[in-house]
Symmetry: C2
């Protein structure tokens, strides 16, 4: 077993060639016009809730993602919360989602008075398995009065939220079919998947709405930020209204026609985002290069593999995932220890949400793939500059 | 009546001496080391959820406000929401607050499943009237099982949230007495009152917790931001935990022991805030100077007055308020028209929240002072530089 841990360390060191400094899991990079645009923003004095950079960021983001509208907000959680609210999630709603995701996916439903309903994932995509989902919905739901009702809980199921784990697209063909079959809106949690594509189309652009994140650990960052993507002009309009306290437009009067949110992205953060967006293509190239090197380096490793995109997918490889074989899953934490000892800041996947006390009692299918995979994943350092430095 | 409108325009022009450009209601200013610190932040690459500026901003803010702890968050609404949650506001809770406030005060309670319970204000402070509040609570509440219950609705009343309108401290002596008498936590909505004092002590430091805002229109700005103030180490610890997704500290594992929020202020915004905080004293001086000039200029005006701080208060005069006499209240919008015509971006007070459709059905006392004042207030341009430029 010691040999197996040492082998991983040597393979990863071969890819990363550490020079004594710890290698972070994912570092932000500012190699473009970030300083220029942020200074311009400060000098304009429009750093806050109005300003040209928010508009520019939204337009350029929409263009990059191939959607008609993007609405910039304070973070990915806020984006998902608003997208779910506009999709009809209400107090008592159940929201279909994977359990192997960042806690924000479930929190967004909770903030609206809804709750997660966890379904299993596929080893092929690390995302929701559409076949398991269809079987589960057929087993547990009734169609009453046009709404899909969970027979066990009596509550409505009101949305499907696939999450593109570590940047890898879920099976959008299959999931859209199921969403259509059960007449459920599909909202993509694309927080990790800016720039990833499924059959050439951007993640975040498939569902009625998609949610992105620009937190510091993402492929591009605005310090903190997120966005809602949609092709629907009315949904975009409502998203903008809800995220700006639902204030009714007037030269001076303060009136609000809905209970909205203070979720607008500050112009200062949008200025950083405009500069960062210009680097998206080169970052994806670097990250795909790094992923290829990890995959090659682990190709002869007998105890696991580096996750590779499916033929339909072009992943941004946000975080590379080493998937250990089941027989060595129990050694995961020792592997993490060994990597940390040599300064490689690896991490495991999230604790599956149905195993957290806060979401333990939520409705769910059996989750054998989720529970198996969660124990076997080791995320490896994946900053895009790591893919540039040693391109050999 | 035309004469009266023209008189206001001339008085305001006398104070502001407009030079052709429109004069905003409140502009942010960046006259310190903003550029230097923000560039340093970008160059450090720590722009997001970790970094020294968040810590520094929190320490310096706590020191300025005379509290032991400050927790920086994404905006004032988030600060208030978290403070209310930590004070025991739960689904079904009623939260005592003024109706003459920005909608965020009520929204923060709503996000937790609670609802506002509106009480009347005083013409002396523009904030909650403690005498009216005591009478109201004596009339409508029962003490059952240690909790204060609204007899009309059967729901518990779980907190009092005074709001320091336009930077003017509410009557904190009286409000703390009532809070004590009814055993309710008092949480200050001090979004507008950074630097304001009551008997020499900072607004935001009186209740168990206080909420600040650093939106672009506030006395200092972080682009978008807010903070929770408290002297209680355990509340501060819980606030930090809740605002950082309630993630359990661990080198690599992702586990969350409560349903928290993604509310941490990005380091980029905190860098701006550190630079801005250093200007707080000079800004307050400028704004108090401007207020004095408005007050003097309107001293012989026969149809209203500029609101002045009470003897116990030192206000930051965030927004100057011209209070029209009741007999000319109907001319308020014409006054606003006349001021806008000459480029003076005046505004009215907020539409009282109990008059908005979204909060119309919430419990409340009779609100005669609120309804009267709301029709009579005209906020005048109050950027701090306006108090510097023409100090004569």
């Amino acid at each position: 077993m010691m040999k197996f841990r040492q082998e991983i360390v040597e393979i990863v060191e071969g890819v990363l060639r550490p020079g004594g400094e710890p290698i972070a899991l994912h570092e932000p990079e500012f190699s473009g016009v970030e300083e220029e645009l942020v200074l311009d923003c400060i000098r304009s004095s429009f750093v806050s809730s109005v300003g040209k950079y928010v508009d520019q960021f939204e337009h350029e983001l929409a263009s990059i993602c191939g959607v008609d509208h993007a609405v910039a907000v304070v973070n990915g959680t806020a984006a998902l919360q608003v997208a779910l609210r506009l999709s009809g999630v209400r107090p008592g709603s159940e929201v279909i989602m994977p359990s192997l995701t960042f806690v924000a996916t479930a929190n967004a439903a909770h903030y609206l008075g809804g709750l997660p309903h966890f379904v299993d994932i596929s080893e092929d995509t690390l995302g929701v398995n559409p076949i398991a989902l269809r079987n589960h919905l057929n087993r547990v739901t009734d169609k009453r009065t046009g709404r899909l009702i969970n027979r066990d809980t009596g509550r409505p199921i009101d949305a499907i939220v696939p999450m593109h784990a570590f940047g890898h697209p879920s099976d959008l063909d299959g999931l859209l079919e199921v969403a259509d079959e059960f007449n459920l809106p599909l909202i993509e949690d694309a927080a990790e998947a800016l720039g990833s594509r499924w059959r050439g189309k951007s993640c975040g652009s498939f569902g009625s709405m998609g949610a992105l994140s620009f937190n510091g650990n993402k492929i591009i960052t605005t310090g903190g930020g997120g966005a809602i993507l949609t092709d629907d002009a009315e949904l975009a309009h409502q998203a903008k209204h809800l995220t700006t306290t639902a204030k009714v437009l007037h030269r001076w009067a303060f009136s609000h026609d809905e209970i909205g949110y203070n979720f607008r992205m500050p112009n200062l953060n949008a200025a950083l985002g405009v500069a960062q967006l210009r680097q998206i293509e080169s970052r994806i190239r670097s990250k795909r290069n790094l992923a290829k090197r990890y995959q090659n380096a682990f190709s002869d490793f007998g105890h696991g593999y580096c996750f590779e995109e499916r033929p339909e997918a072009q992943s941004n490889y946000w975080l590379n995932a080493l998937v250990l074989n089941p027989e060595v899953a129990d050694a995961r934490d020792e592997v993490l220890e060994s990597l940390h000892e040599v300064g490689v800041m690896a991490r495991p996947a999230w604790e599956p949400l149905h195993q957290l006390s806060i979401y333990r009692d939520c409705p769910r299918d059996d989750l054998p793939v989720t529970e198996g995979l969660a124990r076997r994943i080791v995320n490896l350092p994946s900053s895009s500059f790591l893919g540039e430095l040693y391109c050999g």
